[in-house]
C-alpha cells in the first residue's frame, strides 16, 4: 500500500527541525522520551489518540504512526489508570484484598473475586461447598454476560450504531439489579469471598435469575437481528484486525480474541474450576481471526453463558455456601453472641485474618477478556507476600499494534473494541 503513495520528501536541509525547537523550548520529561511525537524523515505522521478518547474504552493512549490513512506502526502508552493494587495486596489481609480485585476488571468484578479466591483457596487447601460453587458460577456467568453487553453496546456505538448501545445497557441493568440484590452493590460487589460467598442468596434471587434465563436468548436474537447481518457492520468488521492462530498464541492472547482466531481454548473447559465441569456448554470459535469473528464468538458466548446459568440454577443444591473451616470463614452471626470460640474466631478473622501456609500458587479463571490469573506468594503470614495478576487485557492489548498494522486509522477503533480491554485490568 505504501508503494502507491508519493515518495517521501526529506525535510529541507538547514531548516531546524521544528519539533526539535519545540522540545528545546518546552522541554520533554525524560520518561516521555520513549513515546514522544517525532517527525520522521518520510511523509508519515504521528497521531496521538487518547488518553481521553471515547473509543479507547478508558484512559489508553495510542501513538499511531500514519502513512496517509494507513497505520504503519502503533505504540500503546498505558499506565494512566495505574492503581498499585498488586502492591496494595501485600499490605492487606487476604479477605481485604477482595474489594481491590473488584476494581481491576470493573466490568466483571465477580470473576475477579473468583480468581483471587480460588488462588487463596488453593493455597489454603480448602474446598467451597457445592452450593457456593454453583452460585459462584451463576454470578460469574452473569458478570460475563454483563461485560459482553457493555462490549457489544460500546463496540457497536464506536462503529456508528447507536441503538444497540441503549438496548445492551437496558439488559445489563437486570444483571446489576441481581448484583445489588445479592451483595448490596451494583458493580463492586465483593460478593465472592475467600472460602465462599459474602452470604447466601436471598429468596428474590430465583425469579430474577429465571427472568434472565428466559428473556436473554431473545434479547441476544434481537441484537443479532440488528447487527450481525448489517451490511455496514460486515463492511467494517470483516477482514479487519486479523490475527492468525500462531501470532495470537505467541502474543499470549486469550479469551474471545484468541477463540476468534480458531483456538478452542477456554479455561472453563481446559482446567475446570468451581464445578464448571458439571455443566454442558460449547466453546464457540471463529475461523478468520478478524473483528467480525470475535464479535460472533462473544455473541455466541452470551448464549452459552445463559445455558450455564440455566443448568447451575436448576441444579442448585441446598446446603452451606461457605467452607466449613472455621479458621477461614467467619462464624455464623448468631453464634458471636453465645459462643466464646466463635467470638474469638470472629475477632481474629476480622482483625488479622487467617494465615496461609508458605508457598506459591497460580490460579486462573476465564474472564470475559481471557485468562485472568493470580499468582500468589505466601510467606506464611496473613497477607500475600506478592501477588501478580496475569491480566488478559494487558496481553490482548500487546497484540493490538500487530492487529492494526496496515489497517485504516478508522478501523483502529473497531479493533480496540474487538479486543475488549478494560484499562483497570491493564494497569492494575
Amino acid at each position: 500500500m505504501t508503494a502507491a503513495l508519493p515518495p517521501a520528501t526529506p525535510p529541507p536541509t538547514g531548516e531546524p527541525d521544528e519539533y526539535a525547537r519545540a522540545r528545546e523550548t518546552l522541554g520533554v520529561p525524560s520518561h516521555l522520551e520513549a513515546i514522544e511525537l517525532t517527525q520522521i524523515d518520510d511523509d508519515t505522521m504521528e497521531l496521538n489518540m487518547g488518553p481521553m478518547h471515547p473509543s479507547t474504552h478508558g484512559v489508553l493512549r495510542l501513538v499511531v504512526n500514519l502513512d496517509g490513512e494507513v497505520v504503519r506502526e502503533m505504540r500503546p502508552d498505558i499506565g494512566f489508570l495505574h492503581t498499585g493494587f498488586e502492591r496494595s495486596f501485600e499490605s492487606h489481609t487476604y479477605q481485604q484484598c477482595i474489594p481491590f480485585t473488584d476494581r481491576m476488571d470493573y466490568l466483571a468484578p465477580p470473576i475477579n473475586n473468583l480468581g483471587f479466591s480460588l488462588a487463596v483457596e488453593k493455597l489454603l487447601g480448602i474446598e467451597v461447598p457445592l452450593r457456593g460453587q454453583y452460585i459462584r458460577v451463576i454470578m460469574a456467568e452473569l458478570a460475563r454476560i454483563g461485560s459482553h453487553l457493555i462490549w457489544f453496546g460500546t463496540h457497536a456505538l464506536d462503529l456508528g450504531a447507536t441503538t444497540p448501545f441503549l438496548y445492551a445497557w437496558r439488559e445489563r441493568e437486570k444483571i446489576l439489579d441481581i448484583n445489588e440484590l445479592v451483595s448490596g452493590v451494583r458493580m463492586m460487589t465483593s460478593f465472592i469471598r475467600v472460602g465462599g460467598l459474602m452470604a447466601d442468596v436471598p429468596d428474590e434471587f430465583s425469579p430474577m435469575v429465571e427472568d434472565v434465563i428466559h428473556t436473554y436468548p431473545g434479547f441476544i436474537d434481537d441484537y443479532e437481528l440488528l447487527i450481525t447481518k448489517n451490511p455496514i457492520w460486515l463492511e467494517r468488521t470483516r477482514g479487519t484486525g486479523v490475527i492468525s492462530v500462531e501470532d495470537a498464541l505467541s502474543y499470549g492472547v486469550s479469551g474471545p480474541t484468541l477463540r476468534g482466531s480458531g483456538v478452542p481454548y477456554d479455561l472453563r473447559k481446559a482446567q475446570p474450576y468451581s464445578s464448571y465441569d458439571h455443566f454442558e456448554f460449547d466453546v464457540p470459535i471463529g475461523s478468520h481471526g478478524d473483528v467480525y469473528d470475535r464479535y460472533l464468538v462473544r455473541m455466541q458466548e452470551m448464549r452459552e453463558s445463559v445455558r450455564i446459568i440455566k443448568q447451575a440454577f436448576e441444579n442448585l443444591p441446598d446446603g452451606p455456601v461457605n467452607t466449613l473451616d472455621r479458621k477461614v470463614a467467619l462464624p455464623p452471626r448468631n453464634e458471636i453472641n453465645t459462643s466464646m470460640e466463635s467470638l474469638i474466631h470472629h475477632f481474629k478473622l476480622v482483625t488479622e485474618g487467617f494465615r496461609t501456609p508458605r508457598g506459591h500458587v497460580y490460579a486462573a479463571v476465564e474472564s470475559p477478556r481471557g485468562e485472568l490469573g493470580f499468582y500468589l506468594v505466601s510467606d506464611g503470614s496473613n497477607r500475600p507476600y506478592r501477588c501478580k495478576v496475569r491480566a488478559p487485557s494487558f496481553s490482548n492489548l500487546c497484540a493490538l499494534p500487530y492487529m492494526c498494522r496496515g489497517e485504516l486509522i478508522a478501523d483502529v477503533v473497531a479493533v480496540i473494541g474487538s479486543i475488549d480491554i478494560v484499562l483497570g485490568d491493564v494497569d492494575r
Binding site: 453464634e335 470460640e341 466463635s342 474466631h345 481474629k348 478473622l349
Partner: protein, 641 residues
C-alpha cells in the same frame, strides 16, 4: 530417630519434631524448643519466673513417657524425642483451651487486651472452633474491680495462670495478690482486699496473658492495630529501661516493656511506665520569640531568632570576653545535643562556664559507674547506701531482689551516711562487692569503696545519676571541669550554681540554656534574679515557664519523644532513641539550631547539624562511644580516673 550420644560437655542432645537440638544440661524443654524455633503455647510459664506447670497448655508428647509432659517444667534429658505436633498434643491443647473458654466472658470486643491476647491467639491457632457448652451456664465473677488507681481486675477473664501471684512472690517479693476460694470459684484478689501499693504494678497487665489485669491509664484508649510502635528508652530516670513507645493520633498512649536482660529485665516501674501520657501535654513552646530591651516581644522565624541570639551573644562577649557567658544544659539533652552544646561553648563562645545541673560535682570519673546493672547478679555482695538510689532508679530494686533471691547475692541496704568501717564488717569476706550510691552521695560511696577494696576483694561502684540522660551529659562533658570523655577541661569553669550566682552579681552577662527548664524549676529567687539581671538569655526549651518568660531569645525545642539521638544510662550503656511523635513545633531539631547558632557566631565547618554527622563527630571525639555502638556500654579506661 535417635539422638547423638552424650559428648559430656554439659550439653544435652534431644530431638524435637525431628530436629536435633543441643542445649545445656538443665534446660527446660520449652526453651530448647524455642531454640530451634518451635513454638509451644504457654500461659503460666514465664521466661523470668520459675515454672509451676498449672495451665497445662504446653503439654507435649515425649517418646517412652505414658502421659503428655508440660514443656515448661520438663528438664531435657539425653536422647529425648519430643513431638509437639502429634495428634495427642493437638487434642490436649484443644481440650485445655475448651476448658479455659468455658467460663470466659464474651468480652473480646470491649476487652483492652483484644488483639494482643494470648487466649485469643492460641484459641484461634490451636483451639476448638465451636462451643459445646451453653452460654447460660457460665460462672460469673466480679468485673472491672479496681485493684488500685492504676490496675483494674476482671475476674471473669482470668484463666488462673498464677503469673500475677508469682510476680509478687518472685519478682518484687511484695506478695500482694492471692488466689482465693477453690475449684471453679477460684479468683484472683488482693490480699485482704487491700488496694495494691507496689511501685511495680504496671507490669501486671503485661504479664497477664489475657485481659484480666488491665491498666486504668490505657483503658479503652487504643487497639493494638491503631498503635504505632517505636523503640525508645524510658526518659523518667537514668536507669535506661527499654520501652516500646506506643502512639496513636500523635499521642503517646502507653509505654510497653521491651525486654533488655542487661538493663530492665523486662520490668518497668510505675513512675516510668505511667509517665507515658505526660508527653502529650499541649502546653508547649511552638514559635521562636525575640524580646527587646523594653520588653516588647516579636514573633520571628527560627533563622532570625538564631541570628538575633548570635548578635546579642557576640555583643556581650566582645566587651567582656567569652567568660561573661554561662552555658547550662540538662539531663534532658541527648548525647549529641550535649556534645554539640559543650563544643559550642568551648570552641565558639570560648567560655569555660558550662554545666548541666546546679550541684557541684567535681573530678567525676568513670570508676563511679564501673558496675553494670546485670553485673549485680554476679557480685558476692552489694552495698546500697541509703534509699535514694532505689528511689531514683526504682527498677534497681527488682534487680537487687532477683540477685538476692535467685543468685544468692548478699544485699546490704545501709544508711546513706553509714560508716565505711561498719559496712566492711557487715560485708565480710567477698570476691566482688558492688557499691550502689546516689550521685549526691559520691564522697561516702568513694570512702566505702576504698574501705572495702583490697585483700582479694574487688569493688565496683554504681552511681545513680539524676535525670534521663544524667550519665550521658556527664560523659559528653557538660561539666565545668571535664571535657568529653572525662578529659580535664582547661581552664575549668564555674558550675551551675556559680553561673547563676555570677549572673546575679553581673559577672556573667549572658546565659545559653538548653532544655534547662527541668533543672532550674523550683529554684525560685536565684533563677529569677539571674534571668532578670543577665543581659542576654537564650533559651531553647520545650515548655513554657520561668525561662521562657524571661528569655530574650526563645527557640522552641523538641521533647524526648520527638527527637532522635542517643542517651546513656547510669551504667554507661548508650542506647538509641527514636522519634515517636511528630515535633510540636516547626523549628528544626536542637542539633540544627545549635549548628545554625555556631554558624551565625562565625564558626566554620559546623555542617548542618545532621544527627548522623554529629554522632560521627562525637564518636570520633569520644572513642568509648564509638565502641559502644547502639546498646553497648561505653568502656572507659578506669585507671585513668
Amino acid at each position: 530417630m535417635t539422638a547423638a550420644p552424650p559428648p559430656g560437655d554439659g550439653q544435652v542432645g534431644l530431638v524435637i519434631d525431628g530436629r536435633e537440638v543441643r542445649v545445656p544440661k538443665g534446660t527446660l524443654l520449652l526453651d530448647a524448643a524455642s531454640e530451634v524455633g518451635i513454638h509451644i503455647p504457654i500461659y503460666c510459664a514465664h521466661p523470668k519466673m520459675d515454672p509451676v506447670a498449672v495451665c497445662r497448655m504446653c503439654l507435649v508428647q515425649v517418646e517412652k513417657l505414658p502421659k503428655l509432659q508440660p514443656a515448661c517444667a520438663t528438664v531435657v534429658s539425653e536422647g529425648m524425642v519430643v513431638d509437639t505436633q502429634s495428634d495427642a498434643t493437638a487434642k490436649a491443647r484443644e481440650g485445655m483451651l475448651e476448658f479455659l473458654l468455658l467460663n470466659h466472658p464474651l468480652d473480646c470486643p470491649v476487652c483492652d487486651r483484644g488483639g494482643e491476647c494470648d487466649l485469643q491467639d492460641f484459641a484461634f491457632r490451636y483451639g476448638p472452633d465451636t462451643s459445646r457448652f451453653p452460654i447460660t451456664e457460665k460462672v460469673h465473677f466480679d468485673k472491672a474491680v479496681p485493684l488500685s488507681d492504676k490496675i483494674e481486675l476482671d475476674q471473669e477473664r482470668c484463666i488462673l495462670c498464677w503469673r500475677c501471684v508469682r510476680y509478687y512472690d518472685e519478682i518484687t517479693g511484695e506478695k500482694e495478690i492471692v488466689l482465693q476460694q477453690r475449684g471453679v470459684h477460684t479468683a484472683v484478689a488482693t490480699f485482704d482486699g487491700q488496694p495494691l501499693r507496689s511501685d511495680y504494678q504496671g507490669n501486671l497487665p503485661e504479664i497477664c496473658p489475657v485481659g484480666a489485669l488491665t491498666h486504668r491509664q490505657y483503658r479503652f484508649k487504643a487497639r493494638p492495630w491503631d498503635l504505632i510502635r517505636t523503640k525508645g528508652v524510658c526518659p523518667e530516670c537514668s536507669y535506661g529501661c527499654n520501652v516500646f513507645v506506643d502512639s496513636r493520633d500523635f499521642e503517646v498512649k502507653r509505654f510497653a516493656s521491651r525486654d533488655n536482660p542487661m538493663v530492665d529485665d523486662m520490668w518497668l516501674c510505675d513512675r516510668g511506665r505511667y509517665s507515658a501520657t505526660s508527653w502529650n501535654s499541649t502546653s508547649r513552646l511552638r514559635r521562636p520569640l525575640v524580646r527587646d530591651a523594653a520588653g516588647g516581644v516579636r514573633d520571628v522565624g527560627v533563622a532570625d531568632a538564631v541570628k538575633e541570639a548570635a548578635r546579642r551573644l557576640l555583643a556581650v562577649s566582645e566587651r567582656g570576653g567569652g567568660e561573661v557567658i554561662g552555658v547550662l544544659g540538662s539531663p534532658d539533652c541527648t548525647n549529641e545535643e550535649a556534645w554539640l552544646l559543650q563544643r559550642l561553648a568551648r570552641e565558639v563562645l570560648r567560655t569555660p562556664h558550662i554545666d548541666h545541673q546546679l550541684a557541684e560535682m567535681l573530678r567525676l570519673g568513670p570508676a563511679e559507674h564501673a558496675l553494670g546493672i546485670a553485673e549485680i547478679e554476679s557480685c558476692t555482695a552489694v552495698v546500697v547506701l541509703g534509699p535514694e538510689p532505689e528511689v531514683n532508679a526504682p527498677v534497681l530494686t527488682l534487680r537487687l531482689h532477683k540477685a538476692a533471691t535467685k543468685r544468692g547475692v548478699a544485699v546490704h541496704r545501709v544508711a546513706a551516711n553509714a560508716e565505711p568501717r561498719d559496712i566492711t564488717a557487715r560485708v565480710g569476706d567477698a570476691r566482688l562487692v558492688g557499691v550502689v550510691a546516689d550521685e549526691t552521695n559520691r564522697a561516702r560511696a568513694a570512702a566505702v569503696a576504698s574501705a572495702l577494696a583490697g585483700g582479694g576483694t574487688a569493688v565496683k561502684r554504681m552511681t545513680v545519676t539524676r535525670g534521663g540522660n544524667g550519665r550521658g551529659v556527664k560523659d559528653m562533658g557538660l561539666l565545668p571541669d571535664l571535657a568529653p570523655g572525662y578529659r580535664p577541661a582547661v581552664p575549668a569553669g564555674m558550675g551551675g550554681r556559680a553561673i547563676l550566682e555570677s549572673a546575679t552579681s553581673g559577672s556573667i552577662q549572658a546565659l545559653l540554656l538548653l532544655h534547662a527548664g527541668g533543672v532550674l524549676a523550683g529554684l525560685g529567687a536565684l533563677v529569677e534574679s539571674a534571668l532578670r539581671i543577665a543581659k542576654v538569655v537564650v533559651v531553647i526549651d520545650t515548655k513554657p515557664g520561668v525561662l521562657a518568660d524571661a528569655a530574650t531569645v526563645l527557640i522552641p525545642g523538641h521533647s524526648l519523644m520527638e527527637k532522635q539521638g542517643s542517651v546513656t544510662n547510669l551504667e554507661g550503656r548508650v542506647q538509641r532513641i527514636r522519634a515517636a511523635l511528630p515535633p510540636a513545633t516547626s523549628v528544626p531539631s536542637e542539633l540544627r539550631v545549635l549548628s545554625m547558632l555556631a554558624g551565625a557566631l562565625g564558626a566554620e565547618g559546623w555542617g548542618s547539624g545532621d544527627l548522623m554527622e554529629v554522632h560521627r563527630a562525637l564518636a570520633a571525639d569520644v572513642p568509648a562511644y564509638a565502641a559502644a555502638g547502639n546498646g553497648g556500654r561505653a568502656r572507659w579506661e578506669v585507671a585513668a580516673a
